[in-house]
Symmetry: C2
């Protein structure tokens, strides 16, 4: 079965987005990450920054309230509306052309398609900490704390919308430790898989 | 960093053992699975059948009692003794020669070595059910129930001895869906990784 779409889920700081972009470039197909955010922003009227922040991570404050608030009892919350609009954009992109889609639970959103290669990229806390400081600079909060918070927000968001455990191997066709294997090698494995009729 | 050891953790029925054997053959190194069981049996005096059954899955009955019994309060339980002996055999094998080690939490037992490529093989329930019926025949219990029970026993055992979640991507350098990718392709990815200085 030939795959047409690659979905990349990734831990913050693991380089998953870069791996997705490199793979798309190598394969000569589009990579949707920022572009996806912009499309969703256009469709919904939300600011791109809001889409970027809320589209895959629950709000940093009030994590518990978010999950337990019984949202949707009296209509869609802004987050639910964003989720629905975002899912629609992901479906449309997948329908339109072969592409790489980074983040935003695309593995789950496209779960009924059989032409997706679902990938999860992760790395050790140490490797990710080193990477986010190198890329985004120092902050008041320690890199370890930034990672733990981001992991938690992404995990809760994934669980809330998909009822799956984030980062469980069984949700993906392949998961890769980018810190250990290196970005280039991850790209090579994914592009090789994509190019081959592998079953 | 060149890897010397491949540890393969796998869901029951995913073909992980076969993939390990095929990879070892391709690489010209030993694969320890049955041989490991026999060595542990020899060292401990336990029957090979007991080692096979208890060495990585908790007893089928009394799952709750097993976890909550506060074992070890008055000495090692037989399972703890088996765990210690089995871990020792795994260390010795890893020290002795490049090899593939299947199951038995080898990823965790060897966690302080930097020359292990830790792999997890899984597949969908449907693919695994089809496979266990083909290989081991029909039983009174449905294949789905057999899988669920085995998954649970292995998961509890892994959690008990390693305090990690079984099947979480972050515990492995690479995880592969053998049902989707096919055994040959899994073998190829692993042997390619093993042969290359990849970071």
């Amino acid at each position: 079965m030939h795959k047409k779409i690659i979905t990349i889920s990734r831990e913050f700081g693991s380089g998953g987005r870069t791996i997705g972009k490199m793979a798309a470039e190598e394969l000569g197909i589009s990579c949707y990450d920022r572009e996806l955010i912009e499309r969703v922003a256009e469709k919904t009227g939300f600011a791109a920054e809001y889409v970027r922040e809320q589209g895959e991570d629950v709000p940093a404050r009030n994590l518990f309230a978010y999950v337990s608030a019984g949202r949707g009892m009296d209509g869609l919350s802004p987050e639910d509306y964003l989720w629905a609009a975002q899912s629609k954009v992901i479906w449309e992109l997948a329908e339109k052309e072969p592409c790489v889609i980074v983040g935003r639970c695309a593995d789950y959103v496209l779960r009924n398609r059989t032409d997706c290669l679902n990938v999860f990229i992760h790395a050790s806390m140490e490797k990710r900490a080193e990477r986010i400081v190198r890329l985004y600079g120092e902050r008041d909060t320690s890199p370890m704390k930034r990672l733990r918070e981001k992991d938690k927000r992404r995990k809760v968001n994934y669980k809330y919308y998909t009822d799956r455990e984030w980062g469980m191997a069984r949700n993906y066709h392949i998961t890769l430790d980018s810190g250990e294997l290196g970005q280039e090698r991850c790209v090579q494995i994914l592009t090789d898989l994509y190019k081959t009729e592998y079953v």
